[in-house]
Amino acid sequence: MAVKGILREGEYYDSVTLMLVARDVLAMEGVDDAAVVMGTDQNKSILETSGILLDMFKNAIDSDLLIAVKAKDEATCDAAIQKATELLMSRQSKTQETGEYMPKSLEGAVDFLPDANMVIISLAGKYAGDEAMKALKKGLHVMLFSDNVSIETEIELKQYGKEHGLLVMGPDCGTAIINGAPLCFANVVNRGDIGIVAASGTGLQEVSAVISNEGVGISQAIGTGGRDVKKDIGGIMFIEGIKALEEDPETKYIAIVSKPPHPEVLEKVAALIKTEIKKPVVAILLGGDPKVVEEAGAIPANTLEEAGLIASSFSKGKSMDEFKQLLEEREKGLLNLAETESKNKTATQKFVRGLYTGGTLCDEAMLISRTIIGEVYGNAPLNPQFKLEDSWRSKENTFVDLGEDEFTVGRPHPMIDFTLRNKKILEEANDKEVAVILLDVVLGYGSNMNPGDELNPIIKQAKKSVEADGRNITFVCTITGTDKDPQGRGKVKQQLEDAGAIIMPSNAAASKLASYIVKNLGGAR
């Protein structure tokens, strides 16, 4: 066991900020106790009683901020202190006197808004389960943004929800659209008659954006959290979500979105579709075998875009042949464009680097690329043999999911904060073997509000930096979102095009283009 700490002079934060920072640190594995307090004599006395008073604190004065951590070893202490420091910096708004009362507890919130029927919970995982259960017992639907909730807790919550007709979206559910309201990371889309159940956040976003951009709309988009379709959870909320859409009078068509569910879950979903669901169902199970759901009567899609287009065809009352023809023609266009882009590369340039903020989009890109250029390396690759030894160092064709833990501990998600990705863009551009950089840009509430402003100069800088070598890098971007999003899809598209990027109408199209260029350059495996 180790005890370490730091002293910061003259820093002021409100009590709850300090308590919550201490709690967030305490939630780290290996941390036994944590305190973030002012250096008053009494606080030092309590630190001493708690066994976490350090020598350096003994002469601290009232205006000094003390951060003390007790953990299993020194390395854990250091990581915990680092996290506390970063959290405090991110809460630099400090003490605020508010003009209006803001509820401080679930009970207070329920009193304040007695007509509310849903609660969104974003707490450290250790505490989120309890609050979620409290909310369910008050008859509220729950969206659980928190991750690090145990499997046992998730099962308990979802069983309770199922028995009482309540939705439990999550844990680790960051996206939903309920009665037209985008929740957490979600896009502003048209309202319409297509309902979505998704065990994938950016999968939900891509499908709902495609649908909206086709001129039709979403009735409800229910997120379940990615773990829901695994064996342990058994698809509880995925199934309840499908049933809810079947009963929802606003929903006429259902789209289900997921990475491949566990086979037992897939069987249950298929059985449900076959026996109880009358409305047309489109299924995109990224990388999974569509036969099971097809035999149950659902229409399988090969990509997220296709799922959106199929559902849109239903809603418009059009045949699927129309969009299939459009996709075929587009395919020719992609091949021609890839041909053009391959011509302006040097002999060493032959690989693609995908830098993704959305996990599902990264997975889809890898699945598509695999069919054209073979397996790609990554930090979360499809084939474990292609796992990067060092997630920070790409090789050959590499697709990186920047939303994975190694990139997000102690920093905001890359969908919000582009700093890390901007840095990686410049690094990858400097690699003489790189021909294409593939980027996703996810719009909507919760995401970076100025993606065009941030990416435009970086793309320009990256392109310029390689000019001296006679190299030209192709930037291919996909923008998940709509013109109704606060960032405005059209505006962002224009800004990226001004920087010289090629914008594709979907992640599937972008992945294909990037892969065709690499194939032309001899970079396929």
Binding site: L18, T40, Q42, N43, G99, E107
Partner: protein, 290 residues
């Protein structure tokens, strides 16, 4: 130098110095800037924060940019913005109560306590009013802190004034919870004096002396509490006791909106001390601080 028409002065507390004074900026927040001078602290605040004995209430100024402050020739100068002090109304921090109001006060106090227990932040010291809230304190440090607050308050309310030293400076935050509890206790003892005609000046002085803090913000607040000078939200709360239930609820919510737990902690100290003082005097027992 800019004479601003956009920045408007609303009120000046009765303890704000009006003579020429040069301040040092101690700390700035979105709605408050604390200014240090030889006599203590003056706080420049927005209207939604409200008046106080040492508050200057102004609208239209960005406190986060404040670098310099002074009063010269009846003008408050913040950076290069001049504001005429003579335009401001005076905030009176005293309250008027007498012994005819005791029963109504105690009824209002009950409503105040109920609303506070229901709506205060889980990590405030309101666990002292409702044991069920103790479970919100989870980490070993938090539990030790909670126990210390509990012990300190219990001992003070049993007449052991020296236990003020157990409370002072304890807790998280810019103004520690212990200091806020003591402020609430001091205000309660003052109100007790108004409602019973029993002089408590010596008790308040003693408590303040024991509670004096190196945290100049806390110390100033304790000082005014000891003198029976109320900031506007608390004054409104006391007045609400003599209006109706709705007014008490609204005023309590306003109090709870102060900081994250400060308002709740002050309220807790006030309720505990008021209940104890009136309980003992009603039963004919020795007044706790005699």
């Amino acid at each position: 130098m800019v004479i601003s028409t956009q920045v408007q002065i609303v009120s000046i507390g009765n303890s704000v110095p009006l003579c020429d004074t040069i301040f040092t900026v101690h700390s700035t927040f979105e709605r408050v800037a604390n200014l240090l001078y030889s006599g203590g602290i003056v706080s420049v605040v927005t209207e939604d924060i409200g008046g106080g004995p040492n508050n200057i209430v102004i609208n239209g100024f960005n406190f986060l940019n404040l670098k310099e402050a002074q009063i010269i020739n009846d003008e408050l100068i913040l950076n290069d913005t001049k504001i005429f002090l003579s335009q401001a109304s005076k905030y009176d921090s005293m309250i008027n109560l007498d012994d005819s109001k005791k029963t109504t006060f105690l009824s209002g106090l009950q409503i105040f306590e109920r609303v506070l227990v229901k709506h205060a932040h889980p990590l405030s010291s309101v666990f002292l009013l409702d044991d069920r809230r103790k479970s919100f304190f989870i980490t070993p440090f938090e539990k030790n802190l909670r126990n210390q607050l509990d012990t300190g308050v219990t001992e003070i309310l049993n007449g052991k004034l020296s236990s003020v030293s157990k409370l002072k400076g304890i807790g998280f935050g810019f103004t520690p919870q212990g200091d806020d509890l003591i402020s609430g206790i001091l205000l309660a003892i003052y109100v007790y004096q108004l409602l019973t005609n029993y002089s408590t000046a010596h008790i308040r002085e003693e408590i303040y002396r024991l509670a004096r803090s190196k945290n100049v913000i806390s110390d100033t607040f304790l000082y005014f509490s000891a003198k029976g000078e109320f900031f506007e939200r608390f004054k409104n709360l006391i007045h609400a006791f003599f209006q109706d239930k709705e007014s008490i609820i609204n005023a309590t919510m306003q109090l709870l909106a102060i900081g994250e737990t400060s308002g709740a902690d002050i309220g807790t100290g006030f309720i505990l001390a008021s209940k104890e003082a009136f309980k003992k005097s009603t039963n004919g027992g020795v007044l706790i601080w005699q």
